[in-house]
Symmetry: C2
Subunit: 346 residues, 2 copies
């Protein structure tokens, strides 16, 4: 093997200064994106291997960013992570992922583990738990490690967030069911201490009220995002004297459980009971009976979260800024809730 | 808040020595599992917060373990990770995850990132690429960081692995299709530089030969694990003069693409064409037409990989040991390949 490529070799080849090469490789925002790309591409061509540990010691940066999600095996979270990676890789950052399985102790321990791993920032969706302490978040803020919430957030001063308009998504899904003639719409909710689930509940409730329908709290059921849970609560609802004629679920997985259970009872979807889920997981599209759902633009959510992190990380003046980005959801109407084909064209 | 709990408080409560508490909290294998559990539970009860960074400095351990997978959003890899976490958490370790998206540069960069994050070991499934260098693996071995391959492995001296018997899984799947009367069985393969795909190909081929059928290399197609790719190659196969009457795919995703394409051509499954996938992804079970597949016991694979890591990490004598664990696959027969119901009871 030949001699190792240095930043001086790259600088010579591109006819720029070594300092510029160094800054470009480190994702310094003062260097134009075009130059950064050129330097990175050239470095790759020349098999330049950055000594990240030396770099970390010199800059005080590890170029590792931690991402914490409740679970990695849903398309939604996997896609957000994909968006984060797409945005951070060209800037020289690597992404390391932890999952909480919605356990509060794991949320705290993951933050500690990532701090020990010297990450430069943490992007996270909080766990679906009734955790009251914010100490673990405050610890990050005190250390000056940027923290950005996506999707599942808490309102904490100094923490930016990227979410979708969950109220709107839920309102539109419920309005669609009402437009299809549904009058008794059940809502499969989740832990409403978490804002996204609270807002979806409020959007659902408001649509019911705005349309002059009766709001029946017994049709609102708090559950967790699992197929088996969807089956269980649907079985209970179908045993009611006056069962619902539609279900709006905050989770595609419980929506799928509902569909399985409704079919098992010999009822027709959407004629007898219409179903709308949330998240637009891929299986909703490729099922024999495709499932209506609310798309959350997860890749864009990830990209924007990463951009917010980069802004904070590159903010040399350490001016505290807090961004609340809210994306717009999109209702995708499919077989499970479409009674009259005419409405598709609206 | 009261005074912070120390290991001495835990020792006093349990009437054991502080040294034992410390060892138990650090997952030392000399302490019985029962005691470790008792200490951990008591520590949790008493809100004991371990100073991991101090611990890391003292022991030279970070108690972080890196897991590298091609992608996080398949049930197979997510389940392996679940198994790893289940085994490592009670031993005081945390799991941080990276994905390669089957890109060789990301495989190398992920290893560097995890090394910079000071992980105590790396458990990984190699990327689906034609990477010829083993330098990044050798780097780990030289630093004495345990490396364990699961599922997708390379044969490297000093590296343990946990895999399933892919040859057997493929042989049994193909034999099942032959038992159903199929005579022209296509094989959707993947990069055969990776042992698991090579072995599945060999198992398929051997079953064809052992049954006296004609082995037709044009029916073996190398593809990548995506629904869209499955559709594409199936479209090509269906345009053949003499199309296949069965497909055995190394991926459930390409199998699903095949099913969509076969249906789009108005052909019947399994009557006209039978399909068997590999991995037993959850969607194979809950599809309207359920898909036959080969189960790989991913949670067990993860658990055993973690056990192999713990053995190496706790091996104070630094005796080099290399373990090759091979699990047995299980063929799950479902609608997509079951022509005669009688055979179910066999």
């Amino acid at each position: 093997m030949g001699k190792k490529t240095t930043i001086y070799d790259i600088a010579e080849k591109l006819n720029i200064t070594a300092a510029t090469v160094s800054r470009a490789l480190n994702g310094n925002s003062k260097i134009s994106e075009k130059t950064r790309k050129l330097v990175n591409d050239t470095a790759k061509e020349m098999n330049y291997e950055q000594n990240k540990l030396a770099l970390a010691l010199k800059s005080g940066k590890s170029f590792n960013v931690g991402v914490i999600v409740p679970r990695i095996d849903t398309n939604f979270f996997a896609s957000v992570i994909r968006g984060i990676e797409d945005e951070l890789h060209p800037n020289g950052y690597h992404v390391i992922i932890c999952q909480t399985h919605d356990q509060e102790n794991l949320e705290i321990e993951n933050i500690n583990s990532l701090l020990n791993a010297q990450v430069d920032g943490i992007l996270m969706s909080i766990s679906n738990s009734k955790l009251e302490t914010n100490q673990h978040f405050q610890k990050l803020l005190k250390k000056g490690v940027p923290l950005i919430f996506f999707d599942r957030k808490k309102d904490i001063a100094g923490v930016s967030s990227v979410t979708i308009d969950d109220f709107k998504g839920a309102y539109e899904a419920t309005q669609h069911l009402i437009d299809q003639g549904c009058k008794r719409i059940a809502h499969y909710s989740s832990n409403r201490d978490i804002l996204i689930f609270k807002n979806r509940y409020l959007g659902y409730k408001q649509a019911i009220i705005d349309n002059g329908l009766e709001f029946d709290e017994t049709l609102v059921i708090e559950t967790i995002s699992k197929i088996i849970e969807g089956r269980k609560i649907t079985k209970q609802l179908l045993a009611m004297k006056n069962p619902p004629d539609a279900i709006f679920s905050v989770s595609d997985f419980t929506a799928l459980g509902a569909i399985e259970e409704i079919k098992a009872h010999g009822l027709k979807i959407p004629e007898d009971i219409s179903v709308v889920g949330f998240s637009n997981e891929p299986f909703t599209r490729f099922m024999e009976l495709s499932i209506s759902s609310v798309d959350q633009s997860p890749i864009e959510m990830g990209r924007i979260s990463a951009q917010v992190f980069l802004e904070e990380a590159n903010n040399s003046k350490k001016i505290k800024s807090e961004k609340q980005v809210v994306l717009s959801p999109e209702l995708i109407i499919r077989d499970s809730s479409l009674k009259s084909k005419v409405l598709v064209d609206n």
